[in-house]
Structures are given as C-alpha cells and as structure tokens.
C-alpha cells in the first residue's frame, strides 16, 4: 500500500484538516495518507472529516511510523505528543 505522510505538527485545528483537504485530490485512489499531528482536536476532527467527505478513516497510532513514500528523510524530529492518523482515499 502506498503511504504518504503529511506532517502537521505544530498546527492547530482546523489547519491539519485544511492540509488534508488540499493534499487528498493529488493522491491516487487506494493511497493511505498518514497525518502526523500534535493537536488534540485532530483526533476528533480527522474522523469527522472522513465521514463528511466519504473517505475511510483507518485509525491512529501513538508512535508514528513515518516510512511513507512522501516523507523526506531526516526532516522528522520525534515528538513526544505527536500521533499519526491514517486515511485511505476511497474516492
């Protein structure tokens, strides 16, 4: 599965949601967008956005795996509170 990483650390809602909405049209169907966030509201708003936009919310992980193809090596600094949220583009 093609995993794209979207680093939204340091952004407060609704900025991560806006970033997701901007990125999604560029991705082929079936791609998993892994959104890395440290804003608490993202945990609520990402699943809500997926529901409103008909995309598939796959779940969240505490220690983000950032090995997706869209991630520039070396740019990620481990954050203690960051979580990742996976969205599969289904349409």
């Amino acid at each position: 599965v093609n995993v794209e990483v979207l680093d939204c650390r340091g952004q407060r809602c609704p900025l991560p949601i806006i970033a997701i909405a901007r990125r999604m049209p560029e991705l082929p169907v079936g791609t998993v967008l892994r959104v890395v966030c440290d804003d608490e509201a993202a945990a609520l708003d990402i699943p809500a956005w997926c529901r409103m936009r008909g995309q598939e919310y796959l779940g969240t992980a505490q220690n983000p795996d950032l090995e997706g193809s869209g991630h520039a090596a070396g740019s990620y600094k481990p954050g203690i509170t960051a979580k990742s949220y996976d969205i599969r583009k289904i349409g």
């Binding site: 949601i17 806006i18 509201a41 609520l44 409103m52």
Partner: protein, 395 residues
C-alpha cells in the same frame, strides 16, 4: 483618551449595533450560557433589595420581612419544580449546586463510584473528578450516539455494576439540545437502588421537569433569573450528606428575583417553547441549505426548543464568534480555540461531531423573528468571508 471617554465611545458603538434588533438583546444568542434578565426578575430584584436585605435568621421586624420573602421564593420555586419546599437548597450558582449534588450523594455512599454520561456539564465532571481525587471511587462514563443521546443499554449495565453510589444524567444537552431519556434512566436506577442526579439547568423553564430523579439542580441565569443563584433539590428519603460548609447566608433579593422569573417563565413556557422551537427549526434548515460544508448536530426533533449547534468545515470557531460579534450577534463555540481551556467540547467529542468551526445559537424571549432572519442573512457571508481569507473555499 481618558478611560471615561473610551467607555463612552464603546457604549455608543454598542448602542448602535443593538439598534438593528427587535429588542435590545435581540442579537444576543447565547441564552444557554446566561439568559438576559426577565422583566419580572428585574422588578422583583429591585423590590427585594429594599425589603429583603436583612438576615432572615434574626428576630426583628426587618429579619422577619426577609424571612417571609425567602419562604415565598422557596415555595414558588418548589411549586415550579414540582418538589417540596424542604427539599430545596439555594446555592451560589448552578456550578455550586452541581458540586454539592455530587459530593453530597457520594459522601453518603462513601465507597460508591459515579456513573455518568459523557455529555454532562463540566461542573458535574469536575465534581466527579474532585470526588476521585479525594480518594473516592472513580467514574464510569457512558457514551452517546451521533445525536448526543446517552446509550441507555450501556447506562443500565453501568448502573447495575458493583458499588455504584450515584448515577448522573443531564436532562438535555446544554451544548446540542438533545433531550435525554431521564425517566427511563430513573426507572433503571430505582430498580437497583442507585440515586439518580439530574442536572436540569439547560431544560428548566423550557420543558417540564422529568420525574423519578433523587437529586436535581438548576441555575437561575439560564431561565432569566439573576446570576449567582443555583437550586439544589434533594428528594426526601435520598441518602445525602450535605457536608460542610453550608451555602451560608443566601442572597435573598437574587433568590426572590429567580423565583419570580421561574414562575413567569414556566407560565409562558408552552407558548414560548413553541415559538422558539419554530425559530430554531428555521435556523437548522437555513444553515444546512445556505452554508456549504456544514454539519448541524443534535437531535432534530427530540431537543430543547431554544438551542441549535453546528460546525463549519475549515473555519476557526473563535474567528466565527468574533466575526458574528462584529455584526452584533453573540454566540458561543465548542471549538478548542474559542475556549479558555483550549480543549474542544467534550460533548461534540463524545458525539463524533466536527469540533472546529463550531457555533451554538441559543434563544430567549427577547429574540424575535426578524433577529433570526437577520442572523441567517449575515451568517453565510461571514462563513464565506472567513473561508476566503484562508483560501479554503471549495476545498
């Protein structure tokens, strides 16, 4: 500029903004936080300031006058809430009443846990947390559905659990308006001998008080009474230890005003609830049809008549509140950025609703049809303007 000049100029601006509305408070759409003072409350407050300032515990004429006013206010409040006079305690606020309700019930139970819905008022959640911090048992939180209605099966299972000292269920959501199945929950609690505490602050004056509860609280400022009056009602026979300190010398003028406005609000509630319910239905429909990418939340039918909540995708709640304020409308927001705690609303979170771009509109008798029409004319442009500013229109 001197302070006085600044204040004078600010006043002029406020007066100008207010003149667009049917009444001076027509643009004030945050009644679920605090309703403007009911005219009856104002009259009663002024009269009671002259007549009811003395300490009702003393034995002279002025004290007896104060006592009579307090007794009459207690009787009127008891009648409006369908309880006995000796079941009522006046408190410093709705929050104070909620804390006393939870602490009093759990103090009497000693080891008991509290079962409560995920959408209780923050005062109830804080009281439950305080109980746990003081060495008491923890909380069992029961979830809600997409409309914000408690899962009655899960509530039933939780109440039947071991060592439950208290169950708490809000009468209707103060944030999204959804009415809760209080009487069904009360039957479940009665069967297992667990007292049910109902925070009725959001619904008193808008809907009849439900039956079957053991402990109930309300807040005068929600029904058009003055701020600083909470009501705690404990049914006779409920295991309850009020603890120390007692609320102390009460604010009799404020209580008199609260009772007078409660009686008036309850008397007007059938007609007023129908009027506000229709206006809110208009808002729900118009918001859904005139604003793109909006989610109107809460039960569309089984709801409080005066509250509607919705979330606008890609917009900051704080920015919406500020922009509407510039148009002369006061609304509240459950979005994290709009709250002192910087946490998104736990009610919206429990419902799985969008938490950013959130607004709650709540009406009162001073809001007319034209005020709502003007709000609905202004709102789409405000949302579109904010979206254009951040370049998210059409995303």
């Amino acid at each position: 500029l001197s302070t006085a000049t600044r204040i004078t100029r600010a006043t002029v601006i406020v007066v100008t903004a207010g003149s667009h509305h049917d009444t001076p408070n027509g643009g004030y759409l945050d009644a679920a936080t605090a309703a403007p003072l009911h005219p009856v409350a104002r009259q009663a407050l002024l009269a009671a300031l002259d007549e009811g300032w003395a300490d009702p515990e003393r034995l002279y004429t002025a004290a007896r006058r104060a006592r009579q006013l307090l007794d009459a206010a207690t009787a009127a409040t008891a009648q409006a809430l369908s309880v006995r006079e000796d079941e009522i305690t006046f408190c410093a606020s709705g929050t104070d009443a909620a804390h006393r309700a939870v602490a009093g019930a759990l103090r009497a139970e000693r080891t008991g846990a509290i079962v409560h819905s995920a959408i209780e008022h923050s005062a109830v959640l804080a009281a439950a947390a305080a109980h746990e911090a003081a060495g008491g048992a923890g909380s069992v939180v029961v979830g809600v559905d997409r409309h914000g209605r408690v899962d009655l099966d899960a509530f039933t299972t939780a109440v039947r659990g071991r060592a439950v000292g208290l169950a708490a269920l809000i009468s209707a959501s103060h944030e999204v308006g959804t009415v809760q199945p209080v009487e069904a929950a009360a039957r479940v609690c009665a069967r297992v001998g667990v007292p049910l505490y109902v925070d009725a602050a959001a619904s008193v004056g808008h809907r009849p008080v439900p039956e079957g509860w053991s402990i109930l609280t309300a807040s005068a400022r929600k029904w058009g009474g003055p701020p600083g009056v909470g009501v705690l009602a404990v049914r006779t026979g409920t295991r309850f230890d009020p603890g120390e300190p007692a609320p102390g010398p009460v604010n009799i003028p404020a209580i008199v005003a609260a009772a007078a406005s409660l009686r008036a609000t309850v008397a007007e509630s059938a007609a007023e609830s129908a009027r506000l319910g229709t206006l809110i239905a208009t808002v729900r429909d118009a918001v859904a049809s005139t604003i793109p990418d909006v989610e109107v939340v809460g039960d569309p039918q089984d709801r409080l008549p005066h509250i509607v909540t919705f979330s606008c995708l890609y917009v900051e709640g704080e920015a919406l509140v500020a922009a509407l304020d510039r148009h002369g409308f006061a609304v509240s927001s459950g979005s994290a950025c709009a709250n002192r705690t910087e946490q998104p609303s736990h009610v919206l979170a429990a419902m799985g609703a969008l938490t950013h771009g959130n607004i709650r509109v709540s009406l009162h008798p001073g809001v007319g049809e034209r005020d709502v029409e003007r709000f609905l004319r202004v709102l789409p442009g405000v949302v579109a303007g904010l979206r254009a500013e951040t370049g998210v229109a059409g995303l």
